[in-house]
Subunit: 405 residues, 2 copies
């Protein structure tokens, strides 16, 4: 390889290893591979068990014809077995790179076969292919990088030796980055699972369901997005909101589960849950716990200063508290509780409107009400079942040996 090829590879390696979001990374890898080889199109498949799962594709031809969004939509998701019945499958099975000048001219005794169904369906003519196994550090196949139709001027030409060399080196770099991104994803998902599971556990004594926590978190994220939060900030709020009622763990059953109206003294104890939650969550450097501490402390403050525990007023209430105040009440009104059916949407909205500027920040309320369609979708995807309201039901016919596995 030439010096500038190496320098390019080093630069790409540095750029790749900085991308921690898997989707963004895969697209970047494919884009770089396309540039290194003048390929018209390309795809990345990742190994999942005994299947290859299609992850991303780029195509100058299709992007020109349909635009990027539509192309991605069409080729969004399919999977194929890892067998010799497809070129990518063959590469995943054998870990050998294939550089095919013309897929229409494969010898009749070829070990691999080209399936032209997709070409025919979408009016594309695949000629040359360069298909590379992506091997991680343990030399295990984690995916396949497929490049189609190298171009020179207006013609389709075969991929060269040099193309194959540079992309082979590149694809090992890419594989390590993919594996890192997957590990990061796993870490994040494990953390988020822990937050939702333990937060739901904390609601065991209360009348709230696990879905209540999920809905409220999604509504809060929705508002954050519409307020122009960055993706990361909106995500952070989503992670923090589940823990907003964790302080109820410090409230005795006799008050938390009292069926009637609380006495003023009991109410005072109950209101302590905001402070208890914030105390429990304090003393951590983790951004998510800092954020959840703010939410726990302030989600019962009211815009006119009549809330608790501090009686903060207006913009003195952290925005996270003002957001959760709205979505927590919205969820209580719009979903079933053991003592009530969900209110119809008009009633929910009119109750929220009545509290505009009193309980709720009017600007944030406007943003939320303008996005009722999306809120309703969230509610639809996280509905409670009857069983959710009697948590002990789930314990009756449980197979303990299943839990042991």
């Amino acid at each position: 390889m030439l010096t500038q090829d190496f320098e390019k590879l080093l630069d790409i390696g540095i750029a790749l290893s900085g991308v921690r979001e898997l989707d963004e990374l895969l697209d970047k890898i494919l884009c770089e591979a396309q540039l290194l080889t003048n390929a018209d199109s390309g795809s990345i498949y990742l190994v999942n068990g005994d299947k290859l799962v299609f992850k991303t594709s780029r195509s100058n031809t299709y992007f020109k014809r349909w635009g990027e969004a539509k192309t991605r939509e069409i080729f969004r998701s399919f999977e194929m077995p890892i067998t010799k019945d497809s070129i990518a499958g063959y590469v995943a099975l054998t870990a050998k790179a294939l550089n095919i000048p013309d897929v229409g001219n494969l010898p009749s005794d070829s070990e691999f076969h080209y399936n032209s169904a997709i070409d025919k369906k979408y009016g594309y003519e695949t000629v040359s292919m360069l298909v590379l196994p992506m091997l991680n550090r343990d030399r295990k196949i984690i995916g396949v990088l497929q490049l189609i139709n190298s171009t020179s001027g207006d013609s389709v030409v075969p991929f060269t030796e040099a193309h194959q060399k540079i992309t082979s080196s590149f694809s090992s770099q890419a594989a390590v980055s993919i594996q890192n991104a997957e590990l990061t994803d796993d870490l994040k998902n494990a953390h988020l699972d822990t937050i939702f599971k333990l937060s739901a556990a904390a609601e065991f004594r209360d009348k709230e369901t696990a879905n209540h926590i999920k809905r409220v978190s999604h509504y809060a994220k929705l508002i954050a997005q519409k307020l122009g939060y960055s993706k990361e900030e909106a995500e952070l709020l989503f992670w923090a909101v589940p823990m907003h009622d964790i302080g109820k763990l410090g409230i005795p059953d006799s008050i938390l589960q009292k069926p009637g109206i609380l006495t003023p003294e009991e109410r005072k104890v109950m209101e302590q849950h905001c402070v208890i939650g914030a105390v429990v969550l304090k003393d951590s450097d983790a951004e998510v716990l800092k954020k959840s501490r703010i939410v726990a402390l302030t989600h019962h403050e009211k815009f006119d200063g009549t809330g608790y525990p501090q009686g903060l007023k207006s913009k003195a209430i952290p925005i996270e508290g003002r957001i959760v105040a709205i979505v927590d009440v919205f969820d209580a009104l719009s979903s079933k509780r053991c003592y009530k059916e969900p209110f119809p949407e008009e009633k929910v909205i009119s109750i929220l409107e009545e509290s505009r500027g009193k309980h709720f920040d009017p600007d944030i309320l406007d943003v939320f009400l303008m996005n009722m369609n999306e809120a309703n979708k969230i509610r639809g995807s996280h509905q409670d079942t009857d069983a959710d309201f009697d948590k002990y039901i789930g314990l009756k016919n449980i197979d303990l040996n299943e839990l042991l596995k």
Copy 2:
């Protein structure tokens, strides 16, 4: 640079980006830099606020003289301000690499100065130095790579242009890997904090303290290590153990907090906490939650089959359950409770011994008892204070505005 230099750099880049443990990574970076430049010694400093913190060093001379362990112990931890008063400080301040043929011969008007105090203290003669800024992708300084005394045969020689070129390219790769490892550390720490905070919150209603959870987790990890678990497996158990009593959230105050002895019916409800915990934690792909589900379900099983909820016997009880059974009882006996002082060590041991083969797996008990010294150290580092036993004390004089920050 030569083709083989580039190939080496690509390989190193791939190797580095696969290392996710920061300490291991720093050592690997330094080792590779030493090899690339024939340096006798070297160190890595990372930027922390306005300081450079010494992280790792390697030295052929010192390793030969004292061995690796002692050398690392001597140079374990020091920090220095980022100013022109040291060479590393100068490089961190200016982001300029320095290639100094002889630090004893710096011009009198030099902008940077060599401090020979450490050389004098340990009998080392620093001559040539190559000191490089480590820049991340945003061109921010995250650390300094310092190489000392390039050697050729038996002589110390200046670092060459070629050395400087190859390590400069290498140090940007290294910086990205370091940043990735730090982000991974942050993710893990945030997750672990969440586990400990929420698990401690779940004990709010109970008489257990946050330190109880920490001690029990450390004892369990200690046993796992002594049983020959891999570092990762021992760590996973450490993460899973805090959640072992999460199912107590499903037990009413009237039973959980009952001062006297439970009736048989109440006992039956109380014993449900193992099942509730396992149910709450199920349905996650996260390894830590799977492990914690097993611990939650089985930590009250007894080796002779008289435990609950399943009455599993002997090795049919998952090993995690057998480990936590021992350390949970050990901690109850050896630490203060609101109703008792800690028992003396001999009494604790004799009580555990009485249950050998009945409550406890005899082999695991042996392993634990053989490591009482380390267990006592753990207890010493996580002692309860009086305030830990009255959780509401902490709420009395709290400054809510502090919690808002």
